[in-house]
Point group: C2
Chain length 196, copies 2
DNA sequence: TCGTTTATCATGCGACTGCATGATAAACGG
DNA sequence: CCGTTTATCATGCAGTCGCATGATAAACGA
């Protein structure tokens, strides 16, 4: 067996190159050559790990999803109360600093792209329930802890929170909202969900 | 003076061709040739009315904005109470049928595109305050009419409603939510804003 | 009727696209 | 040390891209 290489690492490397290009120049300037250059490898090598451009984009989307997933679950370990955890999770989804703006630029691009590419739509559809049930679970925990009102419909509240986070992204990235205003809106909304 | 032609009509015709292409095949397949074919004119004629591709996309975005504006203000004339008007306005923004899905596919594409194109971002930034203040105004009217609770912060509620509408678009277009579920979530949210 | 202006078109150019192919290098088993 | 397998690369190809240019056609004033 010759020259063994970590394929997953290579694919991740390619996926991250795609992410950087989407972030810097947008989805339209993702090409095999551009990605190869960004990843510091030849175009043929990119083709060795990914047979088609569509598959490359799908790979980048999958890696994006697991990356988000990791970040989201990481929030769990640095929050105390259920309500803090819920708030922290939503904050993680908002473009409040460079890192999260980076994530959201890419996410927005994939949202648009997935509308027109069936396989990407399928990947999107696959990831959504996890996040939504994760949020709903946190809401239920906060209710059990007496922090959120019992009459709330956890699933609907999760959908609303998620939609709020997604929907405020573009307006923020485009400069309409400041991060402070975004947080203020979120906290305003969360306040009304509390008991009392 | 020779062969006089309605330039605005031509530009509108081009903009609508761009819209159709974005809807059918996505932003990435918008090209001068494709648009010319879709608009039923030669590529040179497209160039006659629009000097560059970026300008063509900007034109399409502007027309999209005024189109949305017209639809939104049209809601005013077919609703009775302030709360109905508010609900109707938000419903107009949601992908609940083919026509509104058509609008939202295009809107989502421009949201992603505007993040990476400065002039499009400027156009986005320009349109947002109108819609948000329009929603806030309706909320205040509903408060004055005793339909919505007085303690609501109209501006923040408008931002939240708008973000909700924008943020649920992709999940719906991708097939995660049914139109019924979207309306249910909206009505669930609106219900808690009512006087009680 | 001629000339000027407005509008439309066809074509060409260099660059880039996705994808396919063949060559080359590296690493291990025999 | 040789041959097979894995990995990387350079190059070619047909097609498309945005954009520029020059040729027509149409319509009106002079």
């Amino acid at each position: 067996m010759p020259k063994i290489v970590d394929h997953d690492a290579r694919r991740r490397h390619i996926a991250e190159a795609v992410h950087r290009i989407i972030h810097d120049k947008g989805m339209e300037s993702v090409s095999l050559r551009e990605v190869a250059a960004e990843a510091g490898m030849s175009m043929g090598t990119v083709q060795y790990y990914v047979t088609t451009k569509d598959q490359m984009l799908l790979l980048a989307l999958e890696h994006f999803r697991v990356w988000i997933g990791i970040r989201i679950t990481a929030v769990t370990e640095r929050q105390s109360t259920p309500l803090d955890l819920l708030r922290g999770t939503v904050l993680e989804l908002l473009p409040l600093d460079d890192e999260r703006s980076y994530l959201n630029r890419i996410g927005l691009a994939f949202q648009a792209s997935s509308v027109v590419a069936d396989d990407q739509a399928a990947a999107m559809r696959l990831g959504l329930p996890h996040l939504l049930s994760f949020l709903a679970e946190q809401i239920r925990a906060a209710q059990a802890a007496g922090q959120l009102a019992d009459h709330l419909d956890a699933d609907k509240e999760a959908s609303i929170l998620h939609a709020f986070a997604q929907g405020i992204v573009n307006a923020t990235l485009v400069g309409h909202y400041t991060p402070k205003e975004v947080v203020a809106a979120l906290d305003y909304h969360l306040a009304r969900l509390r008991v009392g």
